[in-house]
Subunit: 325 residues, 2 copies
């Protein structure tokens, strides 16, 4: 029986770091944020963060704080290290668990964003009470957190769950990782933009209709299409934008069907920016997933949106991890 | 502390059922077999099996027998049911755990062949002491048993580990499951035969060399090529047979690389008939696996043969499961 009542959840992103003091029931009692680029030195950054949180912490009895959970890119639960994270001000291998423990004098656990999201869904969100599920995070890239038998599947070195780097199309699109055909080159904010641009470039401009609000019209003015613009165009019925969502969902559905054959989850939760497209994404994903599933799995695996409010999700996920510290 | 000293391992195959009484250390003290088609009724079959084992069991104190483990096709650890197994005399849904418990009056656990192989490798074989590994069984089909955090990954309904039915080539070869492009249509005894036949049919017969011992020469006489003949031809240097192994290994290597990105095992153990081809298979598999792995996994995952003697493996795997009963 634990008597501590709160954890601190810290979500470190490339731009912003959000934190919150969270009750055992998942209520966020205090929250704040600090630009991650406040300091190029991670020790200086954590000292600034401590300086911001400490006055709030004084309102609590220190013995009521169970620990700190940190969700951060490329960060490893087993080692407590952040490994060469792209888009971060801190380069190389950063011992963030050790730094945070020294600065805050509290027990700390760290993991990557997708694993934190999975722990958040299990503790406070759509996966409450589930034993086996997968969270797929759809942001700039594609991440995944796999829970099996109520435990996060970390793998031998804490590096499991890189669904975004499974190869779905051999000799396919070039990926930031240096290989070709990775799932995240098709299914992510950047992936869906690449698909839209490919479709726009395939169709000869002259024969395309000149209709306001379409991706085609936007592309004529500015080749720099963004994911939210594809979403908006699809909502207004633009066939090319709708085709872009169908193609994206088709590939994700196949990848999910293959993942189900390996880990057989009860549910797959789609989380993050692209998942906000709702039925535009979920319908083609579900259709392709079911079509590609082995009989014994068909109509048995739930495809669900996150059960956490977007604004709170990352802090709740990290805070839930704090209970494991 | 357990004081029981033995389990009974029963491996049920389409043709033969092998059993053994096995010590905690993995020594097979008694062994026997019974044709599975002895009876069309599974209750009658288990009674015949009991009739065969009972006289041997009398040499032991009943309290020394911890339980029975059964490895059988399409059999589910969670439910104890055999579900519509192909090539078995017993049709439909067979409650084999319940039948065996009633007949033997001992606790029984059942699982499928690939999971039994994984438990066997973990308890007595190549995976002793490992926390995270995968066994891939290469027989008529392709099965897999995944161990994560020292536990078999069963999934939500005990149906995880169907690596053979992940789709590796969209709109690829027709599979017995009714879909297209499943891994086992390429990588299995039947899959490698299909690859050899495709290569033989692509190459015009007239221009092919007329050399004794080659698959081409065998094919000229009899179109019914078998997996062991491809192995023999490859050993004697037949380029078409070597190409067949390379193509097979290439596809398996990609599928393993994708599986590593999901579960990150310490090792992958190749088990069963096709794995006996040794370097002919292991070399192209390792080459393709490494080429398709994300940087952070490269040269870190061991590719290994089974650590169990073929003749004993299936009984040892089932016996190891018996300790969980």
């Amino acid at each position: 029986m634990q008597h501590t009542a709160y954890t601190i959840g810290i979500d470190i992103g490339g731009t912003n770091t959000n934190w919150g003091i969270v009750s055992r029931e998942g209520r966020i009692l205090h929250t704040g944020h600090l630009p991650t680029r406040t300091a190029d030195d991670p020790v200086v950054f954590f000292e600034a963060l401590h300086h911001q949180i400490e006055p709030v912490l004084r309102q609590y009895s220190r013995s009521d704080i169970h620990g700190i959970g940190i969700g951060a890119p490329q960060s490893n639960y087993r080692t407590g290290l952040m490994m060469n994270a792209a888009n971060m001000p801190w380069k190389g291998i950063v011992p963030i668990r050790e730094i945070a423990e020294t600065v805050f004098r509290l027990p700390v656990q760290v993991t990557n964003d997708a694993n934190a999201a999975a722990i958040g869904e299990m503790t406070y969100g759509a996966a409450k009470g589930m034993r086996d599920f997968i969270v797929v995070t759809l942001g700039t890239g594609l991440g995944s957190g796999i829970v099996s038998n109520r435990q996060l599947l970390y793998g031998h070195n804490g590096m499991a769950g890189e669904l975004g780097h499974t190869i779905v199309i051999r000799a396919g699109r070039t990926c930031g990782c240096g290989r070709k055909g990775c799932l995240e080159t098709y299914v992510s904010a950047t992936g869906i933009v690449r698909t839209a641009l490919e479709l726009l470039e395939q169709e000869p401009d002259e024969t395309a209709p000149k209709q306001a609000g379409t991706l085609r019209n936007r592309y004529r003015k500015d080749k720099n299409i963004q994911a939210h613009q594809i979403h908006e165009a699809a909502l207004s019925g633009d066939p090319l934008a709708l085709r872009t969502f169908r193609d994206t969902g088709d590939i994700l559905g196949l990848a999910l069907a293959n993942t189900i054959a390996i880990t057989e989850p009860e549910a797959i939760i789609l989380f993050g920016g692209l998942a906000k497209a709702g039925a535009l994404l979920f319908e083609p994903v579900a259709k392709s997933m079911e079509a590609n599933l082995l009989d014994c799995y068909r109509n048995r695996v739930k495809l669900m949106p996150s059960g956490l409010q977007e604004r709170e999700a990352s802090v709740l996920g990290s805070a839930a991890l704090g209970w494991l510290s």
